[in-house]
Amino acid sequence: MLRIDNLHAVVDGPGGTKPILKGLSLEVAAGEVHAIMGPNGAGKSTLANVLCGKPGYEITGGSVTFRGEDLLELDPHERAASGLFLGFQYPVEIPGVSNVQFLREALNSQRKYRGEEPLSGGEFLKLAKDKAALLKMDMDMLKRQVNVGFSGGEKKRAEMVQMGILDPAFAVLDETDSGLDIDALRVVGEGINSIMRAPEKAVLLITHYQRLLDVVKPDRVSVLADGRIIQTGGPDLALRLEEEGYDAVMADA
């Protein structure tokens, strides 16, 4: 479903450009939850950003194919409308815009791109209510401004409500578990399962901890270090990393 081949990307920094992704290859098949783990600064968020087309990065080599299309040819909003969703490590606050307005316009903008009819206000509200309930989020939160005044955990939960409403084919979730309390972690994990566990969907799940993986059981686990995938295995690889740490596992790789 997603195929990343020998991807190289640099970031525009103060001292010129800096290589971050250095020949990263990865394949995620439909129906799969693929966890990505790796040390701080390895390039996990950069990978997520580059996949979604965030400005400020330059692709210097390699290719990304998503559902048979050249992903890198598409603008960010076109990638979203093609079924790609990014759960942000740090969700952005948008003062003056309510979640309801934002998500309704976003969904209808996606539907328009795909040649589908827009949802009416009533249809949208029903959908939003269902997804908020799924994530055990109070509907009042959705009437508030996007992420403004939300706690760290509430922002992450709101990201998953957004994912539920937009119903993507492929989700890149960047540390969606960070900032969540123990109960919220379970709710969010189960939300991911219910929204994304399907034969025609897939997830790239960036995380530092086993706890989320206990709920969202990954099919594959890869280690990203210094801009490359250096090891891929089954769910047991995450358990080994948790036990032994990156240094030991990487030394064996």
Binding site: C52, G53, K54, P55, D75, P76, H77, R79, A80, A81, F85, L86, F88, P91, V92, E93, I94, P95, G96, V97, Q101, F102, L103, E105, A106, L107, S109, Q110, Y113, Q162, L166
Partner: protein, 252 residues
């Protein structure tokens, strides 16, 4: 202000940022035409205006408010040529003046609000909020003069200006001018000029909003403060839509 005997020049404080050529095209008669409105004790008035077209335009209002009177003025200034709204308000005891203004547009045009608020008696309040959104080499100005006479104690006068520039060639100017002779006075004013929040733009794109829709939503949010005090929903929508329709011509 007395009538002008000759056309204004840039040396006149209130015309400092004006498009003097365009003012000349309006002519002296138009420039000296003031609409006078007097509100008696406790009376209220709400005016909502969309101004600006393809030729220079000038709206001059002189408001005199009696004790406890309240005047609300909301304006979308979306001229494609020089468009100036000038207001002189004299406030009686405990009166209130509420002003919400938007200037929006590209091209080369100057759009401006020029207000003179005279707190002539104690306990009057005034609140002015202007938002300016410009692109190309378009300009938005807010010249706001506040005068508080010696015995106008417990005056509360606020002015707030924010400019949003979508392109580097555009400009937004705020010129607050305070003349305060009373000592028990609250007078808050703020002015900032910035650009669209890039991280918000990417966040919106990542959710599938195309660049036009994202820009429109962010501009709408930015303009919101200018019309928060406008309770008439139909008028609120009319003024906001007029502003956002003008945005259609903006580059991204």
């Amino acid at each position: 202000m007395p009538d002008l005997a000759t056309l204004p020049t840039r040396r006149d404080e209130a015309w400092r940022y004006a498009d003097i050529d365009a003012a000349g095209r309006l002519g002296l008669d138009a420039i000296n035409a003031w609409e006078e409105i007097t509100l008696g004790a406790g009376e209220t008035l709400r005016r909502c205006e969309v101004v600006g077209g393809d030729a220079p335009e000038l709206l001059r209002l002189r408001l005199t408010l009696g004790e406890g009177a309240r005047a609300e003025l909301f304006v979308t200034n979306a001229g494609r040529d020089y468009t100036r709204v000038e207001v002189e308000v004299t406030l009686g005891k405990g009166a209130h003046f509420e002003f919400g203004g938007v200037t929006i547009g590209g091209g080369e045009a100057v759009r401006e609000f020029v207000t003179t608020t005279v707190h002539a008696e104690p306990e009057a309040t005034s609140n002015q909020t202007v938002r300016s959104v410009h692109w190309d080499t378009g300009t938005g100005n807010f010249l706001g003069e506040i005068k508080v006479v010696r015995h106008a104690q417990k005056t509360d006068a606020a002015q707030d200006f924010k400019g949003l520039l979508l392109e580097a060639g555009a400009s937004a100017n705020a010129v607050p001018q305070l003349e305060i002779f009373a000592d028990d006075v609250k007078c808050a004013h703020g002015a900032t000029v910035g650009q669209l929040d890039e991280s918000a733009r990417f966040y919106m794109a990542a959710r599938g909003l195309d660049p036009q829709a994202a820009q429109r939503l962010l501009v709408q949010a930015f303009l919101g403060d200018a019309f928060v005090a406008l309770e008439d929903e139909a008028e609120h929508a009319r003024l906001l839509d007029a502003a956002l329709d003008a945005l259609g011509g903006a580059d991204l």
